[in-house]
């Protein structure tokens, strides 16, 4: 009986699945966002970042793309730029012969319109551009002029990364914040919504794309995946061509199952995950103690247990990988306090007067035990595991550190208010290390305990850093920039405001059965991870049909 049912079922299933797509019809199937069902939103200006993934890196396009692999700006909707008026004015030269997908010509007016729209609707300005901009004007069809209210060279990144919307469409939109833009008109390689169901949607190529003969792929397909487990299953069974999922033991689970086609590349982003120690804590305010804690952490174990060895222990400066080019030359001579050295750690604690009691835990002079909570976001399993390793590491040098998990909201609120002892967290990101050090050491962000601070949650600052940061904002001179960044790194190593844990990597997997020319270690024209937003445009344009 059972047999009959099973046989009839399998026949049935074959019947259902006979229409397996032929090779040339195959859509590039992508996983980037965890979701159970899709919501149709293609608003590239959306404040919440809730638009579908290819909106700002497929349908719409920015002025320049910063290629983190090459460390250079790739001209996209603009071809060139120049700083004028002592860095108070920025001139952009706009690409010609670009069409919107409805065949309307693209022009400088669209760029100026986009920025002025953000000025008009404060809620759209998530990049905070108008805190340093004064005006944006189209000087002629091919030039746009950005006037600054104050000199702020780092603002360049935010400006060139802005996806540009069509003036002739958006000037009619009354509430662009709430506009979900169901049928987008863009300049990008993929603009046509072919199908939109709650569990799958498809995006067709832009017939009027400005790059000749590109893209080669005819359409993109996005099935909804609610969990990494499902993504992995889909990757192995060949239902996915490109994904950005964390997959544990990826060699065993994925790559080795079909070495010819199953590829992955977890490229370093140059950023770092940090272990924050609250400098408002009476023990942790001492930089020697922070270094002692850092010495006690066995980063190779953290990387192994927490990160499946997908990454490397962090550099003492907090920057590495693609950012390593900013390191000062004499960096090797500096104190390397990210190296595992429990003996030294113990010694520093002893020297500071925190001795072990009979239970093996350290006490301060009043006999109070050194005991801290490490707060981590619940559900962020890699961090939780890392925190568990750190907790055990610290136990070995006599420090009680308990891992406490909080829901993201509660965790965030504690971080911002400075109500924590220790925590694992991210750092500010950018095309160079400036945002990182600013977020880590600027007094600008420091708020009293209990008040929300945007960055610098551990509340560290020195006057020296503040003046360096100010200088940095005003210069576009490469040599000055380099010099300031060297100085900032030295200060970071001296004070250890936060403890770097491991280098950040981004997850990227691809299945090359149907498509080729994905980025790889050998061909690093962009990161493989579809989580790299703007740089993904380069991938979408360059992927080839096998």
């Amino acid at each position: 009986m059972l047999k009959i049912i099973l046989i009839s079922l399998s026949i049935f299933s074959i019947g259902c699945e006979t229409k397996k797509e032929r090779k040339e019809e195959r859509a590039l199937t992508i996983y980037q966002e965890n979701t159970a069902s899709w919501v149709r939103n293609f608003n590239p200006l959306s404040t919440s970042g809730t638009a579908r993934w290819p909106t700002s890196c497929g349908i719409y396009e920015p002025l320049f793309i910063y290629n983190s692999m090459q460390g250079e700006y790739i001209p996209w909707l603009c071809t060139d730029y120049k700083w004028e008026d002592n860095n108070k004015t920025l001139i952009m030269y706009v690409r010609e012969n670009v069409l919107w997908s409805d065949k309307t010509p693209f022009s400088s007016e669209d760029i100026a319109f986009t920025f002025n729209l953000k000025k008009k609707h404060k809620g759209l300005d998530t990049r905070d551009s108008w805190s340093y901009l004064k005006s944006v004007k189209a000087l002629n069809k091919t030039t746009v002029e950005f006037k600054f209210s104050r000199i702020y060279v780092p603002g360049f990144d935010a400006i060139v990364g802005q996806p540009i919307v069509a003036k002739h469409i958006w000037e009619k939109i009354k509430d662009p914040i709430r506009f979900s833009n169901p049928n987008p008109v863009g300049t990008g390689p993929f603009t046509e919504i072919l199908r939109f169901d709650n569990q799958v949607w498809e995006l067709g190529k832009n017939p009027n794309y400005w790059q000749p003969n590109k893209p080669e792929v005819k359409k993109l397909k996005f099935p909804a995946f609610p969990s990494n487990e499902q993504v992995t299953l889909a990757l192995i069974s060949g239902d996915l061509d490109w994904a950005g999922a964390f997959i544990p033991a990826i060699d065993r689970v994925y790559a080795k199952k079909n070495p010819e086609f199953h590829k992955y590349w977890f490229s370093e982003t140059g950023h770092t995950t940090f272990f924050y120690t609250n400098t408002m804590n009476k023990v942790l305010k001492d930089s020697k103690i922070r270094k002692a804690i850092s010495y006690a952490i066995d980063r190779s174990l953290v990387v192994k247990v927490g990160m499946y060895n997908y990454t490397e222990p962090a550099h003492v400066t907090g920057i590495s990988g693609k950012m390593a080019k900013w390191h000062p030359k004499d960096i090797e001579t500096k104190e390397n306090w990210v190296k595992y050295n429990p003996i030294l750690s113990n010694q520093i604690f002893d020297d500071a007067g925190y001795y072990k009691n009979k239970n093996g835990f350290r006490e301060d002079k009043n006999g109070d035990p050194l005991s801290f909570d490490i707060i981590v976001v619940s559900g962020w399993s890699d961090w939780i595991r890392s925190a568990q390793v750190i907790s055990q590491n610290l136990k070995k040098v006599g420090i009680k550190a308990k891992v406490k998990t909080y829901d993201f909201g509660a965790w965030m609120s504690r971080m911002q208010k400075g109500e924590f002892d220790m925590a694992i967290g991210w750092a500010e990101k950018g095309t160079n290390p400036f945002p990182l050090y600013r977020g880590m050491m600027s007094s600008r962000y420091i708020k009293p305990i209990g008040k929300d601070a945007d960055a610098n949650w551990h509340r560290f600052s020195t006057a020296e850093v503040d003046s360096l940061l100010l200088q940095f904002e005003k210069t576009s001179d490469k040599y000055v920039i380099k010099d300031i960044l060297h100085k900032l790194q030295n200060i970071f190593i001296d004070y250890a405001p936060a403890i770097p844990l491991f280098a950040e990597v981004s997850w990227g997997e691809c299945n090359t059965t149907y498509f080729t020319n994905f980025p790889s270690k050998k061909n690093p024209y962009a990161p493989l991870s579809p989580n790299s937003q703007l740089e993904n445009l380069m991938v979408l344009v360059n992927v080839k049909v096998r």
Binding site: P248, A249, R252, V376, S381, T405
Partner: protein, 307 residues
């Protein structure tokens, strides 16, 4: 108390009942293991060996994705899971008994009010509420127990209320009232012991529910995944893609433990039911007297010596 008291009789019945005694045996040995086991096993949180190594002499149940010993994690997990489960069971019954008992005993306006609360909690969808609450509150066993109690008490309160209502109208309660007993004494000395089998099976039922719901919430990552419990064991196993890596040893021991303890508890409940409600005992003895393949077909069987 005299050995002929009905409670003693139930007690003896349960011990003699095969299902219940198997259940009790298994549950109590698992409780014992969870209390004393961690003294003999490795530190369940220590990172000991190669992650995901299969069972070996060194690690009887292998290691999980973090190189922790699965055997000690299973034993240590029992401790927290059972603690939460039985705490929840206890409080669900306690709250249920207090609110349901008061509603049933006092009747009138008090009942109207309490019944309304009970019914509101009953129709309130428990699982979503559980998920929402568990996500907002700081994760941990206390939150889990609290959430499970909050969403689980109403059902028991309803059952206890109706039982109380049927008992409080009984003559022995009226007799106690007339002889001048105080309400508290009537409730706790006269009525509650009569409900003992109900309370016991409610406790067990609530504990089973608590195990399931707790493990489910933790599996979703809504528990404190930095502690060791059965739910978090499974959470990590799924996180490490245990199925796809073929590391069955990371999820089978815990899954089986959960199934076995829930099953044993269910068996105890079967036993309590059969002992206190003899009608439920399957007619095995009766069947034994009959020729083969005779079932109850609505005609009384005749078994005569002389045919």
């Amino acid at each position: 108390m005299n050995k002929n008291s009905i409670l003693k009789r139930w007690g003896r019945g349960i011990i003699k009942n095969k299902k219940a005694s198997f259940g009790i045996y298994f549950v109590s040995s698992l409780i014992g293991l969870s209390i004393f086991g961690p003294l003999f096993t490795l530190d369940p949180t220590a990172f000991l060996g190669t992650p995901l190594s299969p069972p070996s002499l060194e690690h009887f149940f292998g290691t999980n994705g973090q190189g922790q010993d699965v055997l000690s994690q299973t034993i240590a997990g029992a401790r927290q899971t059972l603690l939460v489960a039985f705490t929840t069971g206890f409080f669900v019954v306690l709250v249920g008994a207090f609110i349901g008992g008061a509603a049933g005993y006092y009747g009138g306006k008090i009942d109207d009010f309490l019944s309304l609360i009970i019914n509101v909690f009953l129709v309130m969808p428990g699982l979503p509420l559980m998920v929402i609450l568990a996500s907002w509150l700081p994760p941990g066993p206390l939150t889990l127990a609290g959430v499970l109690i909050l969403t689980g008490w109403a059902w028991n309160a309803r059952v206890i209320r109706s039982q109380m209502m049927s008992l409080k109208g009984r003559d022995f309660v009226l007799a106690a009232i007339i002889s001048g007993e105080s309400n508290t004494r009537i409730i706790f000395v006269e009525i509650m012991p009569r409900m003992l089998s109900l309370l016991a099976s409610s406790f067990i039922g609530a504990s089973i529910y608590a195990i399931g719901a707790q493990v489910g919430l933790e599996f979703l990552g809504l528990g404190d995944v930095s502690t060791v419990s059965w739910g978090t064991n499974l959470y990590w196993a799924s996180n490490d893609l245990a199925l796809l890596t073929g590391s069955w040893w990371t999820f089978v021991p815990t899954g089986l433990s959960i199934a076995l303890i829930s099953f044993s508890l269910t068996l105890i409940n079967f036993g309590i039911d059969e002992v206190t409600n003899p009608r439920l005992i399957s007619e095995r003895n009766w069947k034994k007297q009959l020729p083969d393949n005779t079932l109850n077909n609505g005609v009384t069987p005749v078994v005569r010596k002389n045919g």
